[in-house]
C-alpha cells in the first residue's frame, strides 16, 4: 500500500514540471486549475496514507551515478509535511484560477518548478535527490530575488554537505544508511551547523515584490519545508550523535530570526512585506523548537522533547495561515489599488470575504487564545520549563534568552497582525481608490476561507489534531506515547484549548446577551469624531485624522554590510534576460538527469 502511494506521490513533481513546461500555452486560470487538481490528488493520497497508518516505504529510481542510485521514500514526517504543502498548493491553485489577479506565464512556470522541487526534496530518501529538489526550488526562487547573491545557491550544497557528513564512511548518502549507523559527535555537529545555515538562508530568501504567486508559494512551501529539513537533518538523522551546544545555537539563531522578522512585520509600511515577515517569523520559531527538541532528546527528557517537537509540527502548519495572509493581502492590494498600509482602510465593508480570510489568517499567527499561535507558544514555553538544567549560567542563559526571544517575537507578531488588520480592514477608507475597492470573485474567497479554517481548527483541537496527523512522528522521535490522551494536552499540567474557547464564548455570549437586553435606538452621528461632518474638500477625511499604523515600531537598523561574493561577471551579464538564465538552469538540470540516467543506476 505504501509503495503504491509513494509511486503515485512521485508523479506529483513530474506533473508539476509538466505544468511548468506547458505554462506558456495554458491560460492562467487553466494552469491554476491544473495546479489545484494535482495538489488535491496529492493531499488525498496523504490523507489515505495517514488514515491507513501506512508504514515507511522507499523505492529506488532508475537514475543516478554508479553505486549512488537515487531513492524516494515516505514516512510519517514527510507525509505530514507533504499534506501541508499539498493543501496550501490546492488553495493557491484555486485562487489563481478564480481570483483573476494578474500573473505572468513565467511566474506560473517558476512557481510550478519551485513546488515540484520542494516536493521532490520532501520525497527524497537520499542526499542527491534532496539536493536536486532543493536546487530546483531555490533556483526558481533565486531568479526572482531582489538582490541576487550567489550565496543563495549554496543552500542545496550546504544540505548535501550535511547529509554527506551524516553518512557513514563507505556508504551512499542515503537516509536509511544513516539510520543504521548513527554518525559520531563531530559529524553530527557539523551537519547540524550546515542545516542551520541552509535554513537561515531559506528564511532570508525574498522573492521579487508584487508577484503574489511566488510569495504564496514561498509561504506555503518554504515554511513547512524548512521545518521538515530541521527535523530531518538536526533531530531525526543525527539521533543521539549531536552535541547539545548545537541545539542551543539553533535556539538562539531561531530566536534572532523570529525577533528580527516580527519586528520588521511591525514596522513595514507595505502589506505584502508585513505578510512576508510574519511567515519568516514562523521559520525562526520553528528553528527554536527544533533546537529545544535536540537538547531535550539528548538529555533523555521525552516530555520536553515531545512538547518542543509538537510545537515545531504545529508551527509547520502555520505555513497554511501564512499562505492565507499572503493571498489575502494581494487580493486587498488588487481591490484597493495600493500595497501601502497608510492608503487602505474600511475594507471590512468593501471586501468582506477577503477581510474575513485575512482576519482568520492573522489571528492564527498571533499568540491570542485559542488560536494555533497560542498553542505553539504554550508548547514551547512548556518545553522550556521542563528543559534540562545544568545549574551553570553559561549553559542556562541560552534557555532564558530563547524564552525571551519567543515571548518578544510572539508579542511583536501579535502587534503586527493588529496593525495590519486594524488599519487596513477597519476604520474609514483613506483614499478614493480604496473607497471604491471591490472583493475578488466568490470561489477565490471560498478557497481562502477554507484554507484559513484549517489553522483555526488546529488551534481549537491541537491535541487531537496532532494525535491524528503526527502521533507516529512524536512517538518515533521522542518516545512520547499518545499525545492527546496522556501527553502534553492531557490531565494535570495541560492547555485545554476547547474548554478555554468555550469559556471565552460563554462569557462573551453572556455579555452580548446582557447588551441585547438593553435595546435602545442608537443616535447616528457623522463619520468624524464627535459627530462632526467632514469638510467638503476632504470627503474621505483628513489623512492625518486617522492613525495610519506608522508609529507602532521604529524601523530596525540594517545588518552591518558584509562584502558578498559576486557571480562571475561574464556569462551572466551576457544573458539577454532573466528568462535565459532560467532556461539555462532548466537545461542544465535536465542534462544532469540524462547523464545520470545514462551512467546507469546500480546499487
Amino acid at each position: 500500500m505504501s509503495d503504491a502511494i509513494l509511486l503515485l506521490l512521485s508523479l506529483q513533481p513530474a506533473g508539476l514540471l509538466l505544468l511548468a513546461l506547458c505554462a506558456g500555452f495554458l491560460p492562467a486560470a487553466g494552469a491554476g486549475l491544473a495546479m489545484a487538481g494535482l495538489n488535491s490528488v496529492g493531499a488525498a493520497l496523504c490523507v489515505i496514507a495517514l488514515a491507513l497508518g501506512a508504514p515507511a516505504a522507499e523505492l529506488p529510481l532508475p537514475i543516478g551515478p554508479p553505486g549512488m542510485s537515487m531513492h524516494i521514500g515516505i514516512d510519517a514526517l514527510s507525509i505530514y509535511v507533504l499534506l501541508l504543502v499539498f493543501t496550501a498548493g490546492c488553495a493557491i491553485g484555486a485562487f489563481q484560477a478564480y481570483a483573476g489577479l494578474p500573473v505572468t506565464r513565467m511566474a506560473i512556470c517558476r512557481a510550478a518548478i519551485c513546488s515540484a522541487g520542494g516536493m521532490l526534496a520532501l520525497l527524497a530518501a537520499d542526499g542527491i535527490l534532496l539536493t536536486i529538489g532543493l536546487t530546483l526550488a531555490v533556483g526558481a526562487l533565486w531568479l526572482d530575488t531582489r538582490r541576487r547573491h550567489a550565496t543563495a545557491l549554496l543552500i542545496p550544497l550546504l544540505l548535501l554537505g550535511a547529509v554527506a557528513l551524516l553518512t557513514p564512511p563507505g556508504f551512499a548518502p542515503r537516509f536509511d544508511a544513516i539510520r543504521t549507523a548513527p554518525p559520531g559527535l563531530m559529524h553530527s555537529s557539523a551537519a547540524v551547523l550546515l542545516t542551520m545555515a541552509a535554513v537561515t538562508g531559506l528564511a532570508s530568501l525574498k522573492p521579487a515584490e508584487r508577484c503574489w504567486l511566488r510569495q504564496a508559494v514561498l509561504a506555503g512551501l518554504m515554511m513547512p519545508l524548512s521545518a521538515y529539513l530541521l527535523l530531518r537533518l538536526t533531530v531525526e538523522l543525527p539521533g543521539a550523535g549531536a552535541h547539545p551546544v548545537w541545539g542551543f545555537l539553533l535556539m538562539l539563531c531561531g530566536g534572532v530570526i523570529a525577533v528580527r522578522q516580527s519586528w520588521c512585520a511591525g514596522a513595514d509600511g507595505q502589506i505584502d512585506g508585513i505578510a512576508d515577515a510574519l511567515v519568516r517569523t514562523q521559520i525562526g520559531l520553528a528553528m527554536t523548537g527544533a533546537g529545544l527538541t535536540v537538547i531535550a532528546r539528548l538529555a533523555d527528557l521525552p516530555a520536553a522533547s515531545g512538547h518542543a517537537l509538537a510545537d515545531t509540527l504545529l508551527l509547520a502548519a502555520g505555513g497554511l495561515a501564512g499562505t492565507v495572509v499572503v493571498l489575502a493581502v494581494h487580493a486587498v492590494a488588487s481591490g484597493a489599488g495600493s500595497y501601502r498600509l497608510s492608503r487602505l482602510g474600511g475594507l471590512v465593508h468593501l471586501m468582506p470575504g477577503t477581510a474575513a480570510a485575512l482576519a482568520l489568517g492573522l489571528a492564527s499567527l498571533t499568540i491570542l487564545p485559542p488560536g494555533p499561535g497560542f498553542a505553539c507558544l504554550w508548547l514551547l514555553m512548556r518545553a522550556l520549563v521542563s528543559a534540562p538544567r545544568t545549574g551553570g549560567l553559561v549553559a542556562d542563559i541560552p534557555l532564558a534568552a530563547a524564552a525571551a526571544a519567543v515571548a518578544i517575537a510572539g508579542v511583536l507578531a501579535t502587534t503586527a497582525a493588529l496593525r495590519l488588520g486594524g488599519v487596513a480592514l477597519l476604520s474609514r477608507p483613506r483614499s478614493p481608490r480604496g473607497a471604491g475597492a471591490g472583493d475578488i470573485p466568490r470561489p477565490a474567497q471560498l478557497a481562502m476561507l477554507a484554507l484559513s479554517c484549517i489553522p483555526v481548527l488546529l488551534g481549537l483541537l491541537p491535541g487531537p489534531a496532532l494525535a491524528l496527523l503526527a502521533d507516529p512522528i512524536l512517538h518515533g522521535l521522542t518516545g512520547v506515547e499518545a499525545l492527546a490522551r496522556g501527553g502534553p494536552f492531557g490531565a494535570g499540567s495541560a492547555y485545554l484549548a476547547l474548554p478555554v474557547a468555550a469559556l471565552l464564548g460563554l462569557s462573551t455570549g453572556a455579555a452580548l446577551l446582557a447588551r441585547r437586553q438593553r435595546r435602545t435606538e442608537a443616535r447616528l452621528a457623522g463619520p468624524w469624531f464627535d459627530g462632526a461632518q467632514p469638510p467638503a474638500g476632504l470627503p474621505f477625511g483628513d489623512p492625518l485624522a486617522q492613525s495610519a499604523g506608522e508609529g507602532f515600531l521604529p524601523p530596525l537598523p540594517a545588518w552591518p554590510t558584509v562584502p558578498m561574493p559576486a557571480m562571475p561577471p561574464s556569462p551572466v551579464r551576457r544573458l539577454k534576460s532573466v528568462q535565459t538564465g532560467f532556461w539555462l538552469i532548466l537545461a542544465g538540470a535536465a542534462a544532469c538527469l540524462i547523464i545520470l540516467a545514462l551512467t546507469g543506476a546500480t546499487e
Binding site: 499568540i367 514555553m381 512548556r382 545549574g391 485545554l496 462569557s507 485624522a545 492613525s547 508609529g551
Partner: protein
Amino acid sequence: MRLYLALLTQGLHIALLLAMAPLVAGVTDWLAARMAGRAGPPVLLAWRDLVRLWRKTPVTQDNLSVVSEVAPAAGLGTMLAAAALVPSFTLGMALSPLADTLVIAALMIAGRVIFALAAFDSGAARPGLAAQDAASLAVLAEPALILFVVALGMMAAGFNIDQIIAQQQEGMLLPAVASTVALTALLGVVLGEAATRDSLRDQVFSGPDLALAKLAGWLRRLVWIDLIGALFLPIGMSTAEAGPIGWLIGLLAWGGKLFFFLFCLCGVQTALGRIPRHSLPNLIGVAALLALLAVVIVLASTGAV
C-alpha cells in the same frame, strides 16, 4: 458533592469579582483623593456611573463595523474569563483545571487587542493614536508578563495557578530571590499599565457599550490585584471542600489583601505622582529585564535549592 462545591465556589467567585470591580474603582479614587488631602468622590460613584451609562442612548457612527458592536462584550467576556480563572478566596474551583497562568496572561493581552481593534474601527484620530501608543508600550510589557509566567512555571514545574499557589503556601516556590524579582517585575508592569491614560474607551464607546467597556477595565485592574495577591500572598485561601466557614475566612483574608494592595497602590501613586509618558518605557523596560533576571535566577539556581 465535591463537584457541586467547586461549581458553587466558582459561581460565588465570579459574582464577587463582578460586584467588587466597580467598588474597587470607587475605593481607589476615594483613597487617592483622601491621600491628596481632598474629600474624594463617593465610593459607590462607579456603580452609579455604570447604571447611568446603561440607561443612556448610545451614539454610533455610520462607518462602524461589527467589530465595534461586539468589542465591548468581547472585551468584558475576555476579562471575565481571566477573572474566573484567578482564584480569590478559595482554591479548587470548577475552572481550576483551565487556570493556566499562560492562558491568563494571553487573555490579558487579548483584552488589550480587542479594545485596540475597536479604537481603530472608530476611524477617529485620538483613539487610534491611543491604541497605537498602548501597543508600542505592550511590546515591552507583554513579554515581561510572559517571562514572569515562565519564571513561575519553572519554579513550580507547571503553569497551573492552583499548583503554583499550593507550592507558595507550603514555601516550596523556590528560590525566594527569583520569586521576589518576579513579583517586582509584575508590579512594574501593573504600575506601568495603571499610569497610562485610560481615555481610549470614553472616546470610542457610549451608553451601554461604554458601561461594558468600563466594567471590563475595572475588572482588569481587579484581576491584576487578585493575581498578585493569590500568587505571592496566599494567606487564608481555603479549598472548595472547606465549607462556608473556610470560605468566610478566605473571603475576609481576600478583602484584607485587597484593601492593603489598594492602599499601597494609591500610596505609591500619591508619593510618586503620575508617571510621565516618556518615563513609562523605562519603567516597563526595567520590569522586562527583572522578569528575564527571574528566569535566569531560577535556571542558575537548579541544584542549589
